[in-house]
């Protein structure tokens, strides 16, 4: 599973991208956030306030209950500010 980070999520984690293999009980975005938060203090800081984080699964916006699977491309980022 490939995970991408953008904007201040990327800065707090200190990585733009990582390849991970979460345990099988991680089935959705919410579960993945909980599991990622344990990986480093940076991860914990980035995901500390889940309300300020948005996610995408395979390049489509996804809610916390969206399923995640081994081959997916997952991304975490702040609310978007384009335009």
């Amino acid at each position: 599973m490939r995970v991408l980070y953008f904007a201040w999520v990327r800065q707090k984690i200190g990585l733009g991208e990582e390849v991970i293999s979460p345990p099988p009980e991680v089935r959705d975005i919410a579960g993945l956030v909980a599991w990622l938060s344990t990986r480093s203090p940076g991860h914990a800081a980035a995901f500390a306030n889940a309300r300020t984080i948005r996610a995408a699964v395979n390049q489509d916006f996804a809610t916390p209950d969206h399923a995640v699977a081994p081959g997916d491309e997952i991304a975490f980022f702040p609310p978007v500010t384009g335009g």
Binding site: A7, Q59, A75, V80, T81, G82, G83
Partner: protein, 154 residues
């Protein structure tokens, strides 16, 4: 159904060139609406730095543009969004919509810029003259503007 022109690029763009490209040789366009978002020099801003999610950005803008084409009878649609470092006074984003009638072009243009603000994965960081930097926070007003176009399947 037309094919929208969508570009995500570091380079600047020219409203005159893009509008001429959209209308060249056409005699069926009655209204051409455009919106250009520019970088303001607020509070000592030295530059905006725009980050995006390559791949998803183009897909998201493509879905928003397709939705605009489904809602309004557009005869042309161009969306250009810059990334990277942008100085005050420079353009950031261009939306250009053409239709046989003015209302369709104006409404589709407003729809597209409202949606781009909330539905495409761009993030702005402000760099100030004093060397500090901060990420721009999403505005509730932008969500409200997008919500005006209720019923979207996006």
């Amino acid at each position: 159904m037309i094919t929208p022109t969508i570009r995500v690029q570091e380079a600047g763009f020219d409203l005159g060139v893009e509008s001429a490209r959209l209308t060249a040789g056409r005699q069926d366009i009655g209204g051409l609406a455009s919106f250009v978002g520019l970088c303001r020099a607020d509070d000592g801003l030295a530059a905006l730095v725009l980050e995006h999610y390559p791949g998803m950005t183009e897909a998201a803008i493509g879905r928003i543009a397709a939705e605009a084409c489904a809602r309004w009878p557009l005869s042309g649609c161009t969306v250009i969004h810059r990334i990277g470092r942008i100085a005050p006074g420079e353009p950031i984003v261009l939306v250009l919509t053409a239709s046989s009638h003015r209302a369709a072009s104006l409404e589709a243009c407003a729809f597209l810029i409202d949606w781009l603000k909330t539905g495409a994965p761009f993030w702005k960081r402000e760099e100030f003259a004093d060397g500090t930097s901060r990420w721009v926070e999403a505005k509730a007003a932008d969500d409200a503007a997008t919500a005006r176009w209720a019923g979207s399947v996006l």
